[in-house]
C-alpha cells in the first residue's frame, strides 16, 4: 500500500468511525443509565433521517433549520416511546424491557415500510456537506470533516451535562439505584424521559449525518449502522461514553483497513467486525474502558 492510499484509507476510516461513534454514544448512554440495550436506537436513527428528509423536501425549510427541528421531533418520539413502551415494564425483569426494545424496533421499521414505503428516497445534501475537500492526496467529503467535530463536541456537552448539572446528577443517581433516588424526592420518570430525549436526539443527529454522507434513506437503513454502533459500544465498554467514542473509531478504522489490506475479502467486512465483537465478548466482555459490572442483560 502506498502512502497516498494509506492516507486516503485512514481518512475513510476516521470518517466512517466518527459516524459509528455518534450512534454508539446514544446506545451507551441509555445503557449506562437504565441498563437497557435500546435496540430501537437504530430505528430512531432512521426516524430522525426521515424527519429531516420531509422537512427539507416537503416543507422546503432551510437545511440547518430542518436538521434542528428533526432532532427536536425525534427527541419527542424517543420520550413517547419511553412513555408508551418502556415505562410500563420498568419494574418487570430486565429481559422484558429488552424484548420490548426489540419489539419497538420492529414496530418502527414496519411502520416506516407501511407509511413511507420500502423504496429508498434520495436525501438532499447541503453543499457544505457534499463539497469534496482535497487535503494532499486524500479526497474527503465535507460531511467527513464535520462529523468528527460534531461527535467530539456532543460528547463534551454530554459529559458536561452528566457530571456538572443537576439533571446529570439525577441520571447518575438513577444509574446507581432507582429506588433510593426516588426516596430522595427525584422524579425518576422525568429523569428517564430526559435520558431518552437526549439519546434519541443523538440518534437523529447520527441519522442526518449518515444520510448526508450516503445520500439515500429507507426504513431499514438503521439496521446495519445500528449493529455496528452497538458493536462499537460493547468494544468501548458499554455504558462508558468515552469508550463508545473510541469504539466507534476503532470499528471504522478496522473495517476500512481490513478491506484496504485484503481487497479480495471485502465482501466479508461485516463478518470481520462481528467476529471481533465475539472475541471481545469472550475475552474482555467489559470492553476497552468498561468497568466490571455485577449484572448484565
Amino acid at each position: 500500500m502506498s502512502l497516498e492510499t494509506f492516507i486516503q484509507q485512514l481518512a475513510n476510516g476516521i470518517s466512517l468511525g466518527s459516524l459509528y461513534a455518534l450512534i454508539a454514544i446514544g446506545y451507551t448512554m441509555v445503557y449506562g443509565i437504565l441498563r437497557l440495550i435500546n435496540f430501537a436506537h437504530s430505528d430512531i436513527f432512521m426516524v430522525g433521517a426521515y424527519f429531516a428528509f420531509f422537512l427539507i423536501a416537503v416543507f422546503k425549510l432551510p437545511w440547518l433549520v430542518s436538521a434542528i427541528l428533526a432532532i427536536v421531533l425525534t427527541a419527542c418520539v424517543g420520550m413517547t416511546i419511553d412513555r408508551i413502551a418502556y415505562r410500563p415494564v420498568r419494574n418487570a425483569p430486565r429481559i422484558s424491557a429488552l424484548i420490548t426494545a426489540v419489539g419497538v424496533s420492529f414496530f418502527l421499521e414496519n411502520l416506516g415500510l407501511v407509511t413511507v414505503g420500502a423504496r429508498p428516497k434520495p436525501f438532499q445534501r447541503p453543499d457544505l456537506m457534499a463539497r469534496v475537500i482535497r487535503i494532499g492526496p486524500a479526497a474527503i467529503s465535507g460531511v467527513s470533516i464535520w462529523v468528527p467535530i460534531l461527535s467530539i463536541g456532543l460528547v463534551a456537552i454530554l459529559l458536561y451535562v452528566i457530571y456538572r448539572t443537576k439533571l446529570g446528577m439525577a441520571m447518575r443517581s438513577v444509574a446507581t439505584d432507582i429506588d433510593t433516588t426516588r426516596l430522595m424526592g427525584v422524579n425518576v420518570d422525568t429523569v428517564i424521559s430526559y435520558t431518552f430525549a437526549i439519546g434519541s436526539a443523538l440518534a437523529a443527529a447520527g441519522g442526518i449525518m449518515w444520510a448526508c454522507k450516503y445520500p439515500q434513506i429507507n426504513p431499514l437503513m438503521g439496521i446495519y449502522p445500528g449493529w455496528k454502533a452497538f458493536t462499537a459500544a460493547v468494544i468501548g465498554g458499554i455504558g462508558n461514553i468515552t469508550g463508545a467514542m473510541i469504539g466507534g473509531f476503532v470499528i471504522g478504522l478496522i473495517e476500512i483497513m481490513a478491506v484496504a489490506a485484503f481487497p479480495a475479502l471485502s465482501g466479508y467486512r461485516d463478518g470481520m467486525i462481528f467476529g471481533l465483537l465475539l472475541v471481545f465478548l469472550l475475552v474482555r466482555p467489559t470492553g476497552i474502558l468498561g468497568e466490571t459490572l455485577k449484572e448484565k442483560v
Binding site: 500500500m1 475513510n12 414505503g117 450516503y214 445520500p215 476500512i256 471485502s266 465482501g267
Partner: protein, 377 residues
C-alpha cells in the same frame, strides 16, 4: 333465547344461499405473484405489480371463460421468504402459475419449491443462468447474464477502448457475483485485464475502502453489476473520491431510484438492459406506454421491470389458453412451447425455460436514461 335461535337459523340460510350463488359464477383461476414489495429491491417488485395492473387493462384477466385473480405475496427481497411465499401460494391459494420473484438469488430458492410441487414459476428479470438449468417448471422472460455481461465486456473493450477494468460486485447476490465473473472472463479473453476485484454486501452503504483500492489501480473502466441502491451509492462515492472513469452497470440499475439517489454523479453511467420505450413498435407496446403515461405522468419513464412482469402475465395467460386447462403441469408444458408471442417488449420465444431477447444499451443523460443501441443474440 328464541331470538338467538332464530338468528342462527337465518344466518345458516343466508350462508348456504351465498354458497349457491358463488358456485353459480365460474370459479376464478388464481395466478400467484411472488414479488419484492419491500426490502433491498422493493422498486422491482412494486414496478412489476404496476406493470401487471396496466397490462391487465389491455388484455383482460379472463381465460377459458373464467376470471383470473391474483394472489400477491411480499417476499421481502429475501431468499427464504421467497421460498416460503411460493409454498404458500401453491398450498393455500392453489395457484396455476407464479409470476416473480424479480431477482435470481430468490428464484434459485423458489425454483426448488416449484419444481418439487410441479407448478410453473416465471421470473420477469431473473437473469442468472442457473435459475432454469435442469428445471422443467422454472422459466424467465428475459435474457441471461452470460449474454449481457459478454456483450458489455465486448463493448467496453472494443468501443470504449478500455484495456483495464475494475469490478465491484455484491457478494450476497448470485446475480451480481455471476455477472462480475462473466464480465471478467470475456474481458480477459479479449485481451483486457481486471486490475481490481472487490466486493460489497447487500445493504452496504460505505464503499470508500473498495473505491480507494480502485483509485490506486487506476483502471480504464469500472464495472458495477449491483442493484440500484448499492450501485448509486458506490458511484456517488466514486465521484466524491475523484474517480473519473466511465462506469458500466447491468440491468439492475434501471430504476428511478438509481437516478434520484445518484443525482449528478451518475451522469454518463452506461448499462445493459432489456428494453426501452423507444423500442416500442407493436400496437400492444404503444398502448402499454400510453396507459403508463396516463397513470404515472408524461415525464415518467416506462419502467422496464414492470414491462417484463407484464410480459410474464401475457405468457402465462396465453399458456393457460393453449393448454385449455388449469392443470399446472399442462400450463408448464404450454409455457415451454411459447413461440413468437407478441408481448409488451416485442415478441417472445421460450427455449429450455429461457426467453430469447435482445440486449439494449443505455446511458444516463441529463438525469434520464438515453437509448443508445440494441444488440440481438
Amino acid at each position: 333465547m328464541r331470538r338467538l335461535l332464530l338468528g342462527i337459523v337465518v344466518a345458516i340460510i343466508l350462508i348456504s344461499l351465498g354458497a349457491v350463488v358463488q358456485s353459480a359464477a365460474p370459479e376464478p383461476i388464481v395466478i400467484g405473484c411472488n414479488l419484492e414489495m419491500t426490502g433491498q429491491v422493493a422498486a422491482y417488485g412494486q414496478a412489476a405489480w404496476e406493470g401487471i395492473n396496466i397490462v391487465s387493462q389491455i388484455v383482460k384477466p379472463e381465460v377459458l371463460g373464467r376470471p383470473v385473480e391474483f394472489s400477491v405475496l411480499d417476499n421481502k427481497s429475501d431468499k427464504i421468504d421467497t421460498a416460503n411465499a411460493s409454498s404458500r401460494l401453491i398450498e393455500r391459494d392453489k395457484v396455476v402459475a407464479i409470476i416473480g420473484p424479480m431477482i435470481s438469488g430468490s428464484m434459485l430458492a423458489a425454483g426448488e419449491v416449484c419444481e418439487k410441487k410441479e407448478v410453473p414459476i416465471i421470473g420477469p428479470t431473473t437473469t442468472n443462468p442457473l435459475t432454469t438449468q435442469g428445471k422443467k417448471y422454472v422459466f424467465r422472460a428475459c435474457f441471461i447474464d452470460p449474454f449481457q455481461a459478454t456483450i458489455a465486456a465486448t463493448y467496453c473493450y472494443r468501443d470504449l477502448n478500455a484495456k483495464t477494468a475494475a469490478i465491484l460486485s455484491d457478494i450476497s447476490n448470485d446475480y451480481c457475483v455471476a455477472l462480475g465473473n462473466f464480465f471478467q472472463q470475456e474481458f480477459e479473453r479479449l485481451g483486457g485485464k481486471v486490475v481490481s476485484l472487490t466486493y460489497c454486501k447487500a445493504g452496504d452503504q460505505d464503499y470508500s475502502a473498495q473505491l480507494t483500492d480502485i483509485k490506486t489501480k487506476n483502471p480504464d473502466i469500472i464495472y458495477i453489476p449491483n442493484y440500484y441502491t448499492e450501485a448509486a451509492l458506490a458511484v456517488v462515492q466514486a465521484r466524491d473520491l475523484g474517480l473519473k472513469q466511465p462506469v458500466f452497470g447491468a440491468d439492475g440499475i434501471a430504476t428511478e431510484e438509481f437516478l434520484a439517489i445518484g443525482g449528478k454523479a451518475v451522469e454518463g453511467v452506461m448499462h445493459t438492459t432489456f428494453w426501452h420505450e423507444k423500442a416500442a413498435e407493436s400496437e400492444l407496446s404503444k398502448k402499454y406506454v400510453e396507459l403508463y403515461r396516463a397513470k404515472y405522468g408524461a415525464d415518467d419513464e416506462v419502467n422496464v421491470f414492470g414491462a417484463l412482469a407484464a410480459d410474464c402475465y401475457l405468457i402465462v395467460l396465453d399458456a393457460i389458453k393453449r393448454a385449455g386447462s388449469t392443470d399446472p403441469k399442462k400450463v408448464a408444458e404450454a409455457i415451454e412451447a411459447t413461440k413468437d408471442l407478441p408481448v409488451v417488449t416485442g415478441s417472445v420465444t421460450i427455449e429450455n425455460g429461457d426467453a430469447i431477447k435482445p440486449v439494449v444499451f443505455r446511458e444516463v443523460k441529463n438525469g434520464k436514461w438515453d437509448y443508445k443501441t440494441m444488440v440481438y443474440p
